[in-house]
C-alpha cells in the first residue's frame, strides 16, 4: 500500500479497505479544496466563474456565491442551486440541458458542503489571477538621468509617484558594516574601518564594494549558506548515512570562489557533467515507502521549479494546483524529464493510469525531445532553462539577490514568482542586467550595493510588516543569519573552531604562490608496471605510508590523484575518493592527523586504495604529496616515491578500516614525473598553495555542521529548500543566548584575550564597540562600559589573579551585552 502524505481523501479510501471489516468510515468534514472545487470547476465555472457571470451569477468567491441567493449555508434543502442541479426540468436545470448532468454522488457532496456551512478556503477565488507574469525578458527604458545608477533612476520615479522622499545616505561606518555583512558575511576589521573612513576618494563606496566582491574566498564562504539553503545541501542530515543523498559542497564551493556564471551554474546542477553536482537533482532517497508526491523524480520537479523559477510545484505534485496555473501533468512531465523509468501519474497518490510525458513548464520556449535518453533530456532542459528568452530564470535569481541585500523581495514571497512585483521595471531591469553581464551574479550584487538606495538609511518598521500593505520606502534592515552571528562572534573572540566539516579544500591560491610550489612526489604503481609495462585492467592495490607529526599543525594540506580511481584513508577513516586522474583532490589535513607527543605513540597511517580501470592493460599511477607546517615552525613533506610500499587489496576494506592490514608489503615501482601526467602539475601546485592559504583563514560557521546554537538561531534542517531565514529573535533563542554553554565558552575565550592584553579599560571598551558595531562608543556608552569594567576591578585585589579573573568576567559580560544589542544583531 502506498501511503499518501498529502491528500487525505484518497488516503481514506485506502485506509478503509484495510479496516473495512471492522470499521464503518465515519462521516468526514467536507474538504472544499479537494472535494468541492473539482465539481464546481467541471460543471459550473465555465459560465459562472472567472470573467463569466451568466444570469448575473458568479461563484468566484463565497461572498458572490451567497449574494446571488444561490445557497443557504447550513441548509441544503433551502439552497436554490442544488434544486437547479437536481431538476429534471429541461428549461430550468443547471448545467443547461445540452451539457452533462452533475452525477448524484457529486450532488450529495455539494449538499453536504452546504449543510456544513459552505466552507471556503480563505482567499480562494475562481477568478483567474489578473496578473500574468511575463515569461520573456522585457526591455526597460530607463527614465534617467543618465549617469545615475539605473536602480536609482527607476526608484526616483517610484518615490516621486508614491509621494515619498528617497532615503538619505547612511554614514560611512554604518555603510561599511552593512555592506561587509551583506557581501562577505564578516564584520569589517578595525584596519578596514580606519582605511575606509580615511579615504577621500569620492567613489570610495564603489571601491569598497569592488574590494569586498573581489575577496573571492570570503564571498564564497558567505554565500555558501544562501546556496546551501536554496539547493538543500548540507554536511550532515537525513539521508546521508544511508547513501540516499549526496553533497554538492565541493562543486558549490569552487563555483562560488570562481564566480561561475549563473547560467553555467544552473546547467551543471540540472544536467550534471559529473558526480560533483549531482546531489541537487538526485534529491533525497527516503527510506521506506514514500508517497507518490515525494519520489526522487517528483522531488526533482519541485526542486528545479522552486530553486530556479520560484514556482511552487508542491500542490501540483498531487493534484492540479488551486493557487496557480500548474497542473498535475506539469509536475509529472517535468519529473519525467529526469526519470529513467516510465513515470505513472498519481493523483493524490492513486495512479491515474496515465504515464507522464517528459516536458517542461514553458514549452513556448522550446520542447523536450521525448525520444531522448534521460541524460540528453536533462541537457535539453538545462539549455531551455538558461535560454536568454527565459526571463523567469533571471527574474527569480535577481529577486532573491535583491531580497538578500534589501531585506524584502521585489516579488514577495520569493517563491511566488507568479505574483506581481511592486516594481516591474526594477525587476526586469535587474534581470536584463544579469543576462547582459554574462549571468554574472557579482555584477548584479555590485549594481545593487552601489545604488544610492542601498546606501540609504534603512526603513524603521513602525508596525508588523505583515499587517501593512507593502510600499517600498527603502532598504529593510534584516537580522544576521545564524552563520553571520557566529562568524561575527568568532571574529571578536577568536573562538572559532579549528576545523571545518564541509568536505571542501578552502581558499584560493594566487597564481604566483602556486607556481612557486615545488612538487617533490613521483608517480608510483605496483610491480606489474616494472620495466615500463602497463598495469592490468582492474588491478587494485593498497598503498601505505606513515606520517609522524611531532607538534600541533599550523597548516597541513595534501594533494593526490590516481589513474584511475582511489579512496584515501587516514588512521582508518575514509577521507576522500576520486575517479578522474586529471582532477586531483586537495585535502585539509589537520582534522584527520594526530599529533605524536613522543616516539612511543603510533604514527599516522596513510592508506590509499588505488584501482586501475580499462578493459586491457594500461598505464596506472598514484601521486600523493602533503605539506605541513607545524606550530613550532618545522616543515614536513610526505611524498609518494620509490620508498613507498603497497599490498594487494584482497584482504578487504574491513581489515583496512580496523587497522589490521597485513602485508606482504612490496616496494612500489616509481615512474618519476612522466610527461603523460604533466598536465595536472599546475592543479597539484595550486591545491598545495590553496590549502596552505585556506588553513590560515578563520573557520567560518557556514563550513561547519549545524549545532544547537545555530539551529536555535534559525539555521534550518535542510531537508526542504529554504529561501528565507527567521526575521525575529524568539524567546527560546534568547534563553540560549542568555545561558547557553556554547556562547558562554566563546565569551570566556574572547574575554581572556582582552584580559591578557595590556589594553586599558577604555581601549577594551573602544575595541569591542568598534569591532562589533563598526563605530566607537558614544561618551555615554563609554562610561557605561567603563563602569562595568571598573566595578569588577574593585571586587578583586589589584594585580592578583582575582583581579584578572574579575576583569575577565566583566569583559565577558560586556561582550555579551554588546552582542545582544539590536544594533549588533541586525544588519542595518
Amino acid at each position: 500500500m502506498r501511503v499518501s502524505t498529502i491528500c487525505l481523501r484518497c488516503r481514506l479510501a485506502a485506509l478503509s479497505t484495510v479496516l473495512s471489516l471492522v470499521l464503518v468510515t465515519p462521516a468526514l468534514a467536507i474538504d472544499f479544496a479537494h472535494e468541492v472545487v473539482p465539481i464546481l470547476r467541471a460543471h459550473c465555472v465555465k459560465c459562472h466563474g472567472g470573467d463569466e457571470a451568466k444570469g448575473g451569477f458568479s461563484l468566484n468567491t463565497r461572498k458572490l456565491f451567497l449574494e446571488g441567493g444561490a445557497a443557504e449555508p447550513g441548509n441544503a434543502k433551502e439552497s436554490h442551486f442544488l434544486e437547479l442541479i437536481a431538476s429534471p426540468d429541461n428549461d430550468m436545470q443547471m448545467p443547461p440541458k445540452d451539457l452533462p448532468r452533475v452525477p448524484a454522488d457529486q450532488r450529495r457532496i455539494l449538499a453536504r458542503w452546504v449543510n456544513e456551512g459552505l466552507p471556503w478556503t480563505s482567499g480562494f477565488t475562481f477568478r483567474e489571477n489578473s496578473y500574468v507574469p511575463p515569461l520573456l525578458p522585457r526591455q526597460v527604458n530607463l527614465p534617467g538621468p543618465v549617469g545615475l545608477n539605473p536602480i536609482d533612476q527607476i526608484l526616483r520615479k517610484h518615490f516621486k509617484e508614491a509621494g515619498l522622499v528617497p532615503p538619505k545616505p547612511v554614514d560611512d561606518s554604518t555603510f561599511l558594516r552593512r555592506v561587509s555583512l551583506d557581501l562577505v558575511g564578516l564584520l569589517p576589521t578595525q584596519e578596514q574601518r580606519r582605511r575606509f573612513l580615511a579615504s577621500e576618494n569620492a567613489n570610495k563606496r564603489q571601491v569598497l564594494v569592488d574590494d569586498l566582491l573581489g575577496r573571492d574566498v570570503d564571498y564564497a564562504e558567505h554565500w555558501l549558506t544562501f546556496w546551501n539553503d536554496l539547493l538543500r545541501n548540507d554536511y550532515t542530515g537525513t539521508g546521508f548515512i544511508t547513501g540516499g543523498r549526496k553533497q554538492i559542497s565541493k562543486w558549490l564551493y569552487r563555483s562560488l570562489v570562481e564566480n561561475k556564471s549563473y547560467d553555467q551554474f544552473a546547467r551543471q546542477l540540472i544536467s550534471p557533467p559529473d558526480n560533483d553536482s549531482r546531489g541537487f537533482i538526485d534529491g533525497i532517497k527516503w527510506r521506506g515507502t514514500v508517497s507518490a508526491g515525494q519520489t526522487v523524480e517528483i522531488q526533482f520537479a519541485q526542486s528545479v521549479a522552486q530553486s530556479f523559477l520560484g514556482i511552487n510545484l508542491k500542490c501540483a505534485s498531487c493534484h492540479d494546483s488551486f493557487i496557480d496555473r500548474w497542473k498535475l501533468t506539469d509536475a509529472y512531465s517535468l519529473a519525467a524529464v529526469y526519470s529513467n523509468r516510465p513515470l505513472d501519474i498519481h493523483r493524490c497518490d492513486k495512479p491515474t493510469g496515465e504515464v507522464a510525458t517528459p516536458a517542461w513548464l514553458f514549452p513556448e520556449l522550446g520542447e523536450i525531445d521525448t525520444g531522448l535518453p534521460p541524460n540528453e533530456r536533462l541537457k535539453q532542459l538545462a539549455d531551455l532553462m538558461t535560454d536568454q528568452r527565459n526571463g523567469r530564470f533571471a527574474r527569480t535569481i535577481v529577486n532573491r539577490l535583491w531580497a538578500q541585500l534589501m531585506g524584502q523581495g521585489i516579488v514577495h514571497p520569493l517563491d511566488a514568482m507568479h505574483t506581481e512585483p511592486w516594481n516591474e521595471d526594477l525587476l526586469d531591469f535587474l534581470a536584463n542586467y544579469l543576462v547582459e553581464s554574462g549571468y554574472n551574479l557579482k555584477a548584479v550584487l555590485r549594481l545593487i550595493a552601489t545604488s544610492a538606495v542601498y546606501g540609504g538609511v534603512s526603513e524603521v518598521l513602525g508596525n508588523d510588516p505583515a499587517s501593512t500593505e507593502h510600499v517600498f520606502v527603502g532598504r529593510r534592515a534584516h537580522r544576521m543569519t545564524a552563520e553571520q552571528f557566529m562568524d561575527a562572534v568568532w571574529q571578536l573572540t577568536g573562538a572559532a573552531p579549528a576545523t571545518i566539516d564541509a568536505p571542501v579544500a578552502r581558499g584560493k591560491a594566487d597564481p604566483q604562490s602556486a607556481a612557486q610550489v615545488n612538487l617533490q612526489a613521483e608517480w608510483v604503481w605496483g610491480q606489474s608496471q616494472s620495466g615500463g609495462k602497463p598495469a592490468p585492467a582492474g588491478e587494485t592495490l593498497v598503498f601505505r605510508a606513515e606520517l609522524r607529526v611531532p607538534a600541533e599543525i599550523k597548516t597541513g594540506v595534501a594533494v593526490l590523484t590516481v589513474d584511475n580511481a582511489f579512496d584515501l584513508y587516514i588512521n582508518q577513516r575514509k577521507v576522500v575518493s576520486g575517479d578522474e586522474w586529471s582532477k586531483p583532490q586537495t585535502v585539509a589535513l589537520s582534522k584527520w592527523l594526530k599529533v605524536q607527543k613522543d616516539d612511543t605513540e603510533p604514527a599516522n597511517q596513510i592508506e590509499i586504495i588505488a584501482r586501475n580501470a580499462g578493459s586491457g592493460p594500461n598505464l596506472a599511477g598514484l601521486f600523493f604529496e602533503a605539506h605541513l607546517t607545524l606550530e613550532n615552525g618545522a616543515k614536513i613533506t610526505l611524498a609518494s616515491g620509490p620508498n613507498w610500499s603497497y599490498t594487494d587489496e584482497e584482504q578487504g576494506r574491513k581489515r583496512l578500516r580496523s587497522g589490521k592490514l597485513v602485508g606482504p608489503w612490496k616496494k612500489v615501482v616509481s615512474a618519476g614525473r612522466p610527461a603523460v601526467y604533466a598536465g595536472v602539475d599546475a592543479a597539484l601546485q595550486n591545491g598545495l598553495a590553496r590549502g596552505k592559504a585556506g588553513d590560515l583563514m578563520m573557520v567560518r560557521a557556514g563550513l561547519v555542521k549545524s549545532d544547537f546554537l545555530m539551529r536555535s538561531l534559525g539555521r534550518p534542517n535542510r531537508d526542504q529548500i529554504v529561501t528565507s531565514r527567521p526575521a525575529d529573535l524568539t524567546t527560546l533563542e534568547a534563553i540560549d543566548l542568555s545561558n547557553g554553554e556554547t556562547l558562554a565558552r566563546t565569551l570566556q575565550l574572547g574575554a581572556l584575550r582582552y584580559a591578557e592584553s595590556d589594553l586599558s579599560d577604555r581601549q577594551v571598551v573602544q575595541e569591542i564597540f568598534i569591532g562589533a558595531l563598526t563605530r566607537p562608543p558614544t561618551n555615554a556608552e563609554l562610561s557605561v562600559g567603563l563602569d562595568a569594567l571598573r566595578m569588577a576591578s574593585v571586587e578583586g585585589e589589584p594585580g592578583d589573579a582575582a583581579d584578572l579573573s574579575s576583569r575577565e568576567t566583566a569583559v565577558q559580560d560586556l561582550l555579551w551585552a554588546v552582542f545582544m544589542m539590536p544594533e549588533f544583531l541586525m544588519v542595518r
Partner: protein, 477 residues
Amino acid sequence: MDLQEAIARRRFLKSMAGAGAATLAMGSPKKLLANETLVQPEATADSCILIWMGGGMAAPDTFDPKTYVPYEVGLPVEKMVSTFPAIDTAVDNIKICEGLENIASVMDRATLIRSAVQPDLGSILHSRHQYHWHTGYVPPQTVACPHLGAWMAKVLGPKNPVIPPFINIGQRLEGVGEKEELKAFTTAGFFGSEFGPMNLPFPQQAAQSVLPPQGMSPGRFSSRDRLFRKLVAESPQREFASDFHQESILRSMDNAYRLLSSKERSAFDITEEPKESYEKYDTSRFGRGCLLARRLVESGARFVEVTTEYVPFLHWDTHADGHRTVARMHSEMDRPIAQLILDLESRGLLDRTLVIIASEFSRDAIVEGRPGSSANDQATHKVDKLGDMKHYGLHRHFTGGTSVVMFGGGTKRGFLYGKTADERPLLAVENPVTVTDMHATIMQAMGVSPKTGFDIEGRPFYVTEDGKGQPVMDVFS
C-alpha cells in the same frame, strides 16, 4: 493572580502575539480565514503530558496481555504471545501485565485504548512512525511539519507566561542514532522556533537550562542584564527605538531574563523535591523525567513530553532479549507513572491535565508490520524455536493494534475502549483509532478543533491531517 503577575502575563501574551505576527512577515503561516468562524470545542484540559515510549512498546507485554507463555527451551516462536502473565487492576474488566502493579492500582483513573492503529509505511521505520505520531503527517513532507506540542504552543500559547509552552524531556538529539530523523519532528517546523521545544534531555540537568550560565552568580547575572539595558537605552541609533524588529528582540530578551530569574525556575530543579517524593520517581532517567514533568505542569507548563528515549536497539526497541528488556522497562516506568497520576490528583491537577502513554507502534513475535507486510524481519536472532533467553520476547514491529493510556483531562475513569483479537494476528477488532483521530482526541481535550489550520505556501495545513481528524468522543466523560 497578583498585579505583577497580571502585568507579566499581559506583556508576555502581547509578546507572543508579536512573535506570531512576526512569523507572518516571512510570508508563512497565515491563519486560515475559515478559522475565524471555526467553533473551538470547550477544553477539558489545560495541560498535556505525553509519556512517550519511543521504540515500540509491545502491547501484549504491557497494557494488552494475551495468553501468557512462559519461557521454555524449544518453544516454537509462533507460540510466544505475552511473555508476562496478566494481573488484576483497580478496574474489574481491565487486566495488564505483571510488573506494572503500581499502574494497575491507578487504572481506575485511566481510559485504556487498545485499538490504536498505524499505517505500515513500507519498512516500518521507527523514525517515520514517530514523525507521523508527533506531527500527524506521514513523512516526508514538502514543508517542515510542527510537533503536536508546537501546535499547542502556537494555538493555545503558554499557560503560565514564564514557562515555555512546549517542553521536551529525556530525548537526546545529538550523539544518538537517527538523530537527524529525531530532529525532523522535534521542531515547530513552519511555525518558527518561537513555538519549538525547550529540550531537556537530562532531567537532573534541567535546572541548568534555566539558570544563569554556569559559574555566574545571580548578582552578576542581574548586573549583566542591567548593563545590557543601559547600553540599549544609550544607543545612538535612536531612530530604531520604535522599530518593530528591535522591539521584538528586546521583548524576547526580556522574556528570557524573566524566566531565568523567575520563581518558576525552581520547577526545573528536581533536586528541590522532598527526598521521600523524589525517591518514588527515582527509578531511572525516565522516572526523574516524570517528576520534572509533574513539577513543570504544576508551575503552568502547557505541553510536556517525557520519554524513555528512543535510541536504536535500546529500551523499547527490542529486537532481541525482549522479555528481560521489557521487565527492566516495567521497573523503570511503573512507580513513576503511577506516582505522577497520584501526585497530579492530590494537587487537584489531574482533572485538567491530560496524561497520555503512547508509542509509535506495538510489537509481535512473528509479524513484521501487519499480516501481509513484506517488510524484513527485524528480529536480531532469526530462530524458529527458543534456544536462549535472548530469543524470548516480542522482537518485531506491529502496527495493527497498539495500546494508548489516557489519564485525566476530562477522559473517563476506569474505561476500556477498543479491543484487539485474542489470537494472532492481534489486530484491532473493535473501534480502531488512527493517528489522525488520536490527534483529534487529544486536541479536543485541549479545546482545539481538528480543523484548526494555517495557510502554508498556499496550502491549507491543519492540526490533524488535512483537517480530517475525528475525536473519539466516547473516551470523554
